[in-house]
């Protein structure tokens, strides 16, 4: 697992460098993700330590954005003032997004079945 973590950190570092010097519009970690993905596709398989660390991260991804999300306490007055707008926007948007994606998939993929 440690060797997996080292690999991930190296790709993250590479992503940060590419972001800083070449493609500033994309965040470093996203570039690291894209580079690692391309590497995995070219190589054709992912080693077990990489699988272990990525499983650990995706199982507890939520933990990592708690410190930032707690910052919501600083925005409470602003959110309260616009509560109705925020709630309406979030609810309607999620309903429309699910509907659009599902309907378009069904239209393009044609058959509404579980067969591949």
């Amino acid at each position: 697992m440690i060797s997996g973590l080292v690999q991930i950190l190296l790709w993250q570092g590479l992503g940060e460098l590419v972001s800083h010097f070449l493609i500033p519009i994309l965040p470093g970690p996203v570039l690291g993700l894209i580079l690692l993905l391309v590497f995995l596709i070219l190589k054709g398989h992912a080693n077990s330590s990489l699988l272990a660390i990525s499983d650990a991260f995706s199982q507890h991804l939520g933990l990592l954005f708690i410190p930032a999300a707690v910052g919501v306490i600083l925005f409470l007055p602003q959110l309260k003032a616009h509560a109705l707008a925020v709630i309406t926007a979030l609810v309607v948007s999620v309903v429309l997004t699910i509907t659009t994606t599902a309907v378009i998939l069904r239209l393009i993929a044609g058959k509404n079945s579980n067969d591949p």
Partner: protein, 242 residues
């Protein structure tokens, strides 16, 4: 008795000054949230992140600790967000191997779903008179939170508001998803899962996995693809809409 008081205060000053306090509070709150989530059979209402945020806010309020001071300690957890983002490459890679011939339909559906997500949220919030900080933070809210926060930084809007909107979107999607998909008469598990992943990222994916494994696989693929495409297209889209 009289000497006891300052001693306890001293200990408190020492503890609250080190990162240990913020780290313990963060992990313990998450642990508790997770426990409740498991106990309620993964009910989306008992979202572990939402529970943890409320608990920590309560602790900060009761101990009179400013958020900035809490974050100084909790930043060690926060730092791993970038690392976790890079690690998302592995599930996306695994997802690609199940795609085969479906790459074009899922990409088209993803782009349409993503555009509708941004346009509807931003449009409604603007129409209802929300302020610019809130509207800006709504752009990346359907993207998985770690990537959404990176996009928010590039858009110079608050990553905090974005993270909160992303979590609420995920919870709403997990609660409403099955209902909407039933109403639409969607039968194919992979299509249902993919729609959940596009709209409700990680939380929707976790919900999809608990409904059907194939739905879960496609949901996690949708979440990953939305993360990558969102990071590339949302900054461009925001320039166009503004």
């Amino acid at each position: 008795m009289i000497r006891e008081q300052p001693q306890i205060a001293d200990i408190w000053v020492y503890l609250s000054g080190s990162p240990l306090f913020a780290l313990v509070v963060t992990l313990a709150a998450y642990q508790l949230g997770n426990l409740l989530y498991q106990r309620t059979n993964k009910n989306p209402f008992a979202n572990p992140v939402a529970i943890a945020v409320v608990l920590i806010a309560l602790v900060l309020y009761l101990t009179d600790m400013p958020y900035q001071k809490y974050f100084e300690g909790a930043q060690f957890v926060h730092f791993l967000l970038g690392t976790a983002t890079v690690a998302l490459a592995v599930p996306i890679y695994k997802g690609f191997s199940i795609l085969k011939t479906r790459l074009i339909p899922v990409t088209v559906a993803l782009v349409c779903g993503g555009v509708v997500s941004v346009a509807s949220a931003v449009g409604i919030a603007t129409f209802m008179g929300a302020d610019a900080a809130i509207i800006g933070a709504l752009y990346p809210k359907s993207v998985t939170a770690p990537i959404a926060m990176g996009i928010a930084e590039r858009l110079t809007v608050s990553p905090t508001l974005t993270a909160v909107f992303a979590v609420v979107t995920g919870i709403l999607g997990a609660i409403l998803g099955s209902f909407i998909l039933n109403l639409l008469g969607m039968k194919a598990w992979w299509q249902r899962g993919f729609a959940m992943g596009v709209a409700a990222h990680g939380i929707g994916t976790s919900r999809a996995f608990s409904v059907h494994p194939e739905a879960g696989l496609y949901a996690s693929l949708a979440m990953g693809m939305h993360g990558i495409l969102g990071a590339i297209l949302i900054p461009l889209l925001s320039l166009y809409i503004r």
